[in-house]
Amino acid sequence: MPETTYLEAIRDGLREEMERDERVFLLGEDIGNFGGAFKVTEGLQQRFGPDRVIDTPVSETAIVGAAAGAAHMGMRPVCEMQFIDFISCAYSILTNYVATARYRAGLSTPMVVRGPSGGYVRGGPFHSQNPEAAFLHTPGLKIVAPATARDAKGLIKAAIRDDDPVLFFEHKYLYRRVREQLPAGEEIVTPIGRARVARAGRDCSIVTWSAMVWKALEAADRLAAEDGLSVEVLDLRSLLPLDDDAIVATVKRTNRVLVAHEDTRTGGVAGEIVARISELAFEWLDAPVRRVAAHDVPVPYAPTLEDYVLPQTNDLVAACRWLVAY
């Protein structure tokens, strides 16, 4: 049976939802006949027509604002940001208009904003960002970030079906590198707000998401082989809402926790997770909670610079060794 890539899984999820629900439509830059900068929507305009896969001007605020208006009217729009870095252009309308609509006005705004995030691809400062922290602070939004092909499909479908606005941060490094068998005909819907134990362990936990899950698994392999350690990897999958129960459960299992993310450290999502661990499970800790994150600089272009700035497997291995030795 052929394997499905992470990118194909997103496309399959979009197509299945468009087939299932005629209210679902896509809008974004170059997503129609061209199929999108990364070809996530390739073939969908041919399949569903230009009214359901709409090419827009270079206007992120218009894309998000128009989606909100359509969502109020009962549609289920899915917006593509060509690179997720450009979601900042729509930051105001997302946080002020979309996120507040239900609370302030009772307006239902079922819409998805998705796009390629993340680095390790020599994309430089404006094609490598991870913007989750900028939106985590906004009540009214949901945020998901899949690590696997199965969750890429399951979460895009869940996001489209959700009655609230969902930011879907896919990782461009994973697009064609991650693949798995996803049986045709199996309905895959990953519930939003639930983490996944990607690897069970006893000695320490790495709490992370998106592409960093794969580095964490690599680190766990090395720590098992070189140190005989049993490392648990918790793939959060959803950042808003956070799965407090799963976070507390992994703390209770291993008592030593590393929170890792690709985004920069200061004000990053790890800070919120560490605060929750402190409030909810302090007594279960045998060591201070550590963070591994990018250095607090924009993502640079040169391979030597990018590899130094972004967290690597070695950083996770070293942090786990420190935790276990504490």
């Binding site: 604002g65 002020n96 006005a105 239902s108």
Partner: protein, 359 residues
Amino acid sequence: MSYPASAASAAPIPAGLNRAQLLDLYYWMRLTRSLEERLVSLHRQGKIVGGVFRSLGQEADAVGSAYALDRGKGDILSPLIRNLGSMLVQGATPLEVLRQYMAKARGPTAGRELNIHFNDLGRGFLGQVSHLGDMVPVMAGITLTFKLRKEPRVGMVYVGDGAMSTGAFHEGLNFAAVQRVPLVVICENNGYAYSTPTRLQTAAENLMDRAAGYGIPGVQADGNDVLAVYEVSRAAVEQARAGGGVTLVELLTYRRKGHAEHDNQSYVPAAELEAWARKDPLEAWLRRLTASGWASTEEIAGVDSRVGTELDQAIGLCLDEPFPDAGTALTGVYADPPAGPVEWYRRLPGTGPADRLPT
């Protein structure tokens, strides 16, 4: 309705309207002005906890443009802060407005939002947010839905000379124009955005001239002449409904009060205010109604009396209503609120009834 003796010699009624509709326009303008006067009074009594925003001198542009929509066909408008009149025409009630201003539990947003920031898509109005320009892309999306569903409905969105300087306005209008959605963009050029005069907003001579850059028609009318406003808006609405796409309508008017009640307009020349006071749209319409023989003084007095009674009743109904219970503040952020000790995070153990220590 009994016609006055002069009906036989009355001037022909323009714009395809009938006598009842002409009086209707007067009713909505009078209701707008009187409701705002009551709001000012309530504000001074401390009954309104936030600001009060007046549309004095702009009632004709709000009422005349909204009157060009067809509620029976499901048209939707999105107002700005000086479009109380548009909201009323589209079905918002004085009782709702009063409750909203006074932050009452029974208000349309149950105390969550201010002034005329509320909506009912069923009646055809979508409340604005304070971020100027945002409603243009949102209304582009609403009217895109009309187009995709092949519904003969029209949207109308209001911007001012200030909102037209925002990026959201540009992005939304450009997208709407490209998609040829059935949207009418009403630009109320009232001379000021807060204290900033229009000449500091744009180097364009006329705001309607900017339409050319979007490949759409731009038209202009006297915003203080309710009939002129109605006619130019009606033509744009009919064009949109017929599949003709977006029109930018500039209405020339004037903001005769400060940005809100706290603003004494010290930056406005007195002569300018006096000149525009002489062009008061309500007084002008009143004179024209009677001079043309379209309405009798008795009918006018009847409207004034009806407005007074309606407002007395509405205020009587809600003045002593309570604010919302504090506990309601935490609901309704999501359709399916996440379970969890939300309240625990903001209280130290032992300090309140909502303690929920983690297990």
